[in-house]
Amino acid sequence: MSGAPELPLWAALLVSFLVLAGAVITLIGAVGLLRLPDFYSRTHAPSLGATLGVGCILVGSMITFSVLQSRFLVHELLIATFVTITTPVTLMLLARAALYRDRVERTGSAPETDPEPTELR
């Protein structure tokens, strides 16, 4: 898009802050994939990018195009909605596949049976 330079200063500052913040949050999630020790811990890291990371970038996008075309453009909300309702499916599938594999192979990184329920005190 070549329309970016026509953004007023306040919008440019706000949008660059949001996009940069979203990128940094997603980067931290990616670093987490590298630094966390086992599979189950690693599944937590990318959800940084799938929640706050994507949120910041989408809000930035909404502000940019709403200001540029001087009308409300909110179809990014659809991206947010679909990312939010589909990530649990993938994560659950991955976690259950890993748990199944670990229990069959008895690799020891997952409990053989579910731990006893922790009660509310």
């Binding site: 949050i25 976690a95 731990p115």
Partner: protein, 165 residues
Amino acid sequence: MSALRRVVPYPLLFLALLAMWLLLQQSVAPGTLIFGALVALGGCWAMVALSPQPARIRRIGAAVRLAGRVFVDVFRSNLAVGTIVLGGEHRRTHSGFMTLRLELTNRYGLAVLAIVMTCTPGTLWVHYDPMRRTLLLHVLDLVDESEWVRLIKLRYETLLLEIFE
């Protein structure tokens, strides 16, 4: 009302699909509206073939409150997981599995709870056992199990019970 129901079996779904179509097309021209309505109608009749369990949202207020809590917790848990990722070695090795008992049995309520748990990094929904009504979780920062039980049961489950049961 029943005549409308016979043509449009799921009015809310119809409206949501139509809204989605209009947002995607970014116009409210008559042609877009008519085509969007056809698409939404098709979606509704596909749902009839699936014959889902009827869902009833009882308290809109509780749903709004839940959305507010989740919004706050998204920021909080992103910060928590971020500090764990960037923190020292000892912070990163406290993860583990835990189980908790849920009173919630409504499948839509459980689906919403699964979405909430995924939206807040740090908790991973692994397996729900409908016979024992227990939920197996993986938690990144598992120092005190009862704290997580309190968070999930008091902060989310009570509201979900109000909304769906």
